[in-house]
């Protein structure tokens, strides 16, 4: 299995599930990015910029560290 390139994990999928009505396409539209980028972020294949991270937290109306965590992982 290819190691993930980042130690940053996120709860975006869980937060979307809690919201119930927010698809990846909806979130992508709100952030002004493509669905591929939202999928890459959820899968830990892409770390968004700090600005986008704050935008994501704002969409869910939660603090940044409720969305993103920095922990032990496979990062370089």
């Amino acid at each position: 299995m290819t190691p993930k390139p980042t130690r940053v994990t996120n709860r975006i999928r869980a937060l979307r599930t809690e919201r119930g009505d927010l698809t990846q396409a909806d979130l992508a539209e709100q952030l002004g990015v493509t669905r591929q980028t939202v999928i890459a972020i959820e899968q830990g294949k892409y770390s968004p910029s700090l600005e986008m991270a704050f935008q994501i937290a704002r969409v869910f109306d939660v603090p940044l560290d409720d969305v993103f965590h920095y922990g032990e992982g496979d990062a370089n």
Partner: protein
Amino acid sequence: MNGSEHKLPREPHRPADDEPTVMGMDERAAWVQIFAFAITTGAYLAVVIPRVLNDPIDEVEWVVPLLWAMGLSIVATILGSIFAGIGGAIHLTIRGLDPDSELASDSRDKAIARHARLRTYWATPVVALGALILAMLDVDTFWIGSFIYVVTSIGAIADAVVRIRAYRRGFVG
């Protein structure tokens, strides 16, 4: 028969979570860049190497093949990207997805392109320094021209490989 029942292509629908998508335009362009530069550079070498082996170096005709290779690599990259985009748009339309949003570029594409430029920045100084050294050694212009073209092509291929790797394996900006 009601015409709306068998409408092709389908009206775009809202993609479901994790619904498979297709490569974005930038990744397609990276693949095209690899093939365009590999094929044209290979063709250039296939034309000039037999001449180098058979003729005195100062009689080797290399300028016209080099101009053809450069021109074709540019044209192939542009046309290849256009056709790759059209192919993706047709594929998405048949699947009922909106090509505009699925193929669009965004900040991640820009970050990946910037990352690839930084990773392959070595090509520019290698070309400059190599050409300078060859000129100082007073070698035939064939070697200087060919060196510049081949290393520039390798740099373009490396740039595309780094981009594709970032798309496939993930990327931290």
